[in-house]
Symmetry: C2
């Protein structure tokens, strides 16, 4: 094995810088993540960094997109499983992702309300991707695809996000119980909306 350093392609080098950016987000907010800090931590010059990112905003967008892509990839459903098991497995992966990347995930969620329309779009696309998996499973779950189901599936995603973010710091409830409760909440929420006629309360 040669100890000679492998010359990295610009694309690989950029990915490494994004890895580093995500790591740095564990202990600081997106606002605090500056190009200077990244250059320092990467041990390269500010000038070289501008070879990879046009500026701080471009860097932030790339880091948040990376966080979103990681989340979507890590929670990808295993098509071979039953819908209920598949949901539980995805939820487990989601909770693990949030635990491993708490601060970066909070940055992703916060960017949904911020002033940068690209960051907002990344957040929306992520939620759409995660919620879309539920729509794909509706026939298997015996539910119709109605406007009410689409609304409530989106609502359930917000429930999962809020519950996991509130749970993560203390983890008072065992993780497996949390996942079981979140999974059980989906049919609980959608049941009424999946029928063609909605009953009066």
């Amino acid at each position: 094995v040669s100890t000679r350093r492998v010359r990295l392609s610009p694309a690989t080098r950029r990915e490494q810088l994004l890895d580093l950016g995500l790591q740095l987000l564990q202990t600081r907010t997106l606002d605090e993540l500056s190009i200077d800090l990244l250059a320092d931590e990467a041990g390269i010059s500010r000038g070289l960094l501008y070879h990879y990112f046009s500026g701080k905003q471009d860097f932030h967008r790339a880091v948040v997109r990376r966080a979103a892509d990681d989340l979507i990839a890590r929670t990808a459903p295993e098509e071979s499983r039953e819908p209920t098991e598949r949901l539980a497995a995805s939820l487990h992966a989601y909770v693990d992702y949030v635990l491993d990347n708490y601060a970066a995930y909070v940055s992703l969620v916060k960017s949904a309300a911020g002033g940068d329309h690209v960051l907002r779009a990344i957040y929306e696309d992520t939620r759409t991707a995660l919620t879309g998996r539920i729509f794909d499973s509706l026939p298997e779950l015996g539910l119709d695809d109605t406007p009410a189901v689409r609304l409530l599936a989106r609502g359930w995603s917000a429930l999962v996000e809020e519950t996991v973010l509130a749970w993560a710091p203390d983890q008072e409830v065992p993780k497996d119980d949390l996942v079981a409760l979140l999974a059980a909440a989906l049919p609980g929420v959608l049941q009424g909306a999946g029928a063609s006629v909605v009953a009066e309360p």
Copy 2:
């Protein structure tokens, strides 16, 4: 009846300015709501405005707190009703509030992710007040007050917020159906968490 103008107390005048601020929020974001604009619309001088608010941030905090107080007051449960009816009535009031104050409500929600810790605290206090009503109803609903129930009740609040915000622009689902679905979702979400032992998935 005298047509002489009544001299308003400073407190009343301040409340009027907050009413105006909320009105202005219907067509612009919080960032766009400046002291200059408020002075113009109120027909008073910038100098006089600083008599009521120490600056733009103070004004924004006061407007957002007013929006939050209005929301809490308008959705106050009628203690005389059954818990299920009470929930449906509060949800109806909540949906009406969001429809009447859509832009201002979006500002309240967005401030939860913004940089101003006072605005974040107002949002958190509001959610705590709304969710607290659910905890008060738990005995009547036959549910134990467990950490899991508290987490999921908070999650259900996020579900309601997200669903109503997503529903409001198009209102594809009739309002009464939406309220019925949101109300039915609460026991659907809490059922598993209210028992002392959580079943495995």
